[in-house]
Amino acid sequence: MDNQKYITIDGIKLPIENERNVLELVRKADIEMPTFCYHSELSVYGACRLCVADIEGMGIQTTCSTPPRDGMIVSTNTAEVRQIRKVNLELLLANHDISCPTCARSNNCKLQDLTRRLGITKSRFKKTDKVHPVDRKSRSIIHDPNKCVLCGDCVRVCKEIQTVGAIDFVQRGSNTTVGPAYGKSLADVECVYCGQCVRACPVGALTPRPETEEVWKAIHDKTKTVVVQVAPAVRVAIGEEFGLEPGTVSTGQMVAAMKRIGFDQIYDTSFAADLTVIEEATEFITRKLKGEKLPQFTSCCPAWVKFTEQYYPELLGNLSTCKSPQQMFGSLAKEILPAILKIRKEDLVVVSVMPCTAKKFEAKRDEFYKDEMADVDHVLSTEGLSKMIAEMGIQFAKLAPESFDLPLGFKTGAGVLFGNSGGVSEAVLRFAYEKLTGETLSKVDFKMVRGKEGIRIADLELGKVKLKLAVVHSLANARQICEEIKIGNSEYDLIEVMACPGGCVNGGAQPVSFDPDYLEKRTKGIYSCDKQLQLHKSQENPYVKEVYQQVLGEVGGHKAHELLHTHFTGRQRIKNQTINIRNTQHPKIEVCVCVGTNCYNKGAHKILKKMMKYVSENKLEDRVGFEGHEDMVDVKATFCFECCERGPVVRINNKIIEHADYAKAKEVLDQEIFVYGELMEK
């Protein structure tokens, strides 16, 4: 009667619904099919060939790239299939350096897991003897190509989910590796350190940079007082490293474990998130009422911030000037804790525990140093903290819960929501509602901003003010929104962006989970934290109020600006790339035209072309009146002077010309030639 289509897998008959490939159905039959290169949210690559099965009439096929058809009969464990799978895995092993005991991913490596599962005890293939250098230069991520199995997951995540494309397959044949252009380090390219590649890597080829040794050292140093702040998303994931379900709220155990490790004070980044809400919402309301610089983007995700600096400098003015909670915490801690803890500022060490690889980079940004002292000294990843706990042999799950220290450990539910995509918006709404309507908000949940879709739009009216919000996660979606704004197609007032799909709970420094529902579970965990707390609105946090009274003064005021706000500028995508166009031997004057993307899009190459022509066709030496100066002007092209908002940019000797055009540049060049002539005269 019906058109229901069926497939048979290992003798089990299953209805075909909307599955895109046989693999999804195999999983529905409760068979954990080995896969290395398949991720449901990415394009299909079909390279590892571990997901093979025998399909009647079609022979051996990779199930991840075969669409299901009615009447298909699939066997996942014939002798031939098993044989192929084993050989493929052995080949992967031959490409791998098998340094399991010392590997950061030893406890959750797909390769190790499958080797064990398929009962492989040795690889019969000759190991490649090439040793690649390990890239340890970036603050966020360590890349060890010797462990790479070339599954390409990271490449596709970076390109498809984040639209960054910092890494790709390079070279060919047996020399193939994955990495940035020109063999550069991740530190020197457009990588935004979101860590989504780390999360995707099935082995230990991409891992968060550990900072555990630096932290241990500070703890062991008796002259130092080490305080730690913990981000919201950590508490719903760290338990996974100790056998708990994803999403289990283990705040109390986590605090207890950190006390045992020896941190002197244990605080909560959510406290700083409450501060962020007040500052950022106030900034937003001011902009909205004045009709200025809208839409306002959130700025608490450092990967998103770097992304904007690189790709959308013209939108930097739309970013909230608020520092992220991590950095607000850092500057406030360095300002007030020495007096509270009765120590010298030099002896205070601020550590943070973050679900995020980009936070490690953020803490080292120049703006976040004061008097050569970092606001946040060390950033541990969630998995880094769990390693410290494991090293001590602490039985995490058995610990009696303990609570955060005051005052910086006190938070409202709004501050904890920052861990989820949609959380910042919801927290801001809880504040803006009361500000704009003058009423007390009784039902605090704003369900319209919650959910899974990559772009969620909410229209609402607070008092007389109509608001249009967008909640965006993953940078591909952020790019889409930015493009809409660029062509003038946007009516948004506030846009929340988190680079990681799902938000910080899915950050690159979280434990890697193989549970298919880990993300939903962690998200739920965050909402349940909010529920469990007594207070849900940042403006009700008594300690935040106290900080305003005693230290910060007015919201958005002078002191608040000094401690809690920052600024952003255009950023180079790739370091050390200058085209020596004329390659002059003894240049007297240097003309350097920026052809970075932003200047390029504003026509920089046309300026360059005309300047090249001018210099080539005119014997500029005649102006100086001295012989031997034929080749006096050198022309170069460079990529980004980091002031893209004011592009196109041309530099002539040390004169920077912003909003340049050919006429302006030529005028300055002529002037420089004249000045040089005068100089020679003397």
Binding site: F169, Q577, T578, I579, V595, K619, A637
Partner: protein, 175 residues
């Protein structure tokens, strides 16, 4: 007299400038289309005889694609070279026939003669570049070596030294 020399410097710089002008013209000709990447790379390589890194970065900007992707493509095809090559490009065949007839011995002789090694393919004076290729289609003459357009067969130790020496001499003596 002196003036001519300096004029030459000016001309030389102009030639270099012209090369880069050509790059801009090439991307303009193909209307900044990513789909023409391979053709664009080919034409740019004709200008420079290789693909300079910075020029690749420029192309990535002009074609609006990640640098890593363009680098990936450029390193995937053997036809493209990311290294500046010497004036004389020596290709030694390491196909089966040549291998059997001792082409690796030939390579080693050239390594020694030109002070090159596995990782250094071009001499410091930018005179010679040494490459190995798989089968030049002249197996009857194994081991075979090609210098720019000239083919040499059955090259032994003595012969290889003679060939190189005669080039160096033609170029105005050893450095």
């Amino acid at each position: 007299m002196e003036n001519t020399l300096l004029d030459e410097v000016f001309i030389e710089a102009n030639v270099k400038t012209r090369q880069f002008e050509k790059v801009i013209e090439i991307v303009e000709k193909y209307k900044f289309q990513k789909s023409r990447l391979i053709t664009i790379l080919q034409e740019v390589q004709e200008e420079y005889r290789y693909l300079p890194q910075e020029v690749l970065t420029f192309l990535a900007t002009a074609l609006d694609m990640p640098v890593a992707e363009i680098y990936g493509v450029a390193t995937f095809y053997a036809h493209f070279s990311l290294e500046a090559k010497g004036k004389y490009v020596i290709k030694v065949c390491n196909g089966t026939a040549c291998h059997v007839k001792g082409s690796m011995k030939l390579v080693n002789a050239l390594f020694k003669k030109l002070k090159l090694n596995e990782n250094k393919h071009t001499t410091d004076d930018m005179m010679f570049t040494l490459e190995t290729v798989s089968c030049l289609g002249a197996c009857g003459l194994a081991p075979v070596m090609v210098v720019n357009e000239s083919i040499y067969g059955q090259v032994g130790d003595k012969k290889v030294n003679e060939i190189i020496d005669s080039i160096i001499e033609a170029e105005g003596g050893a450095k």
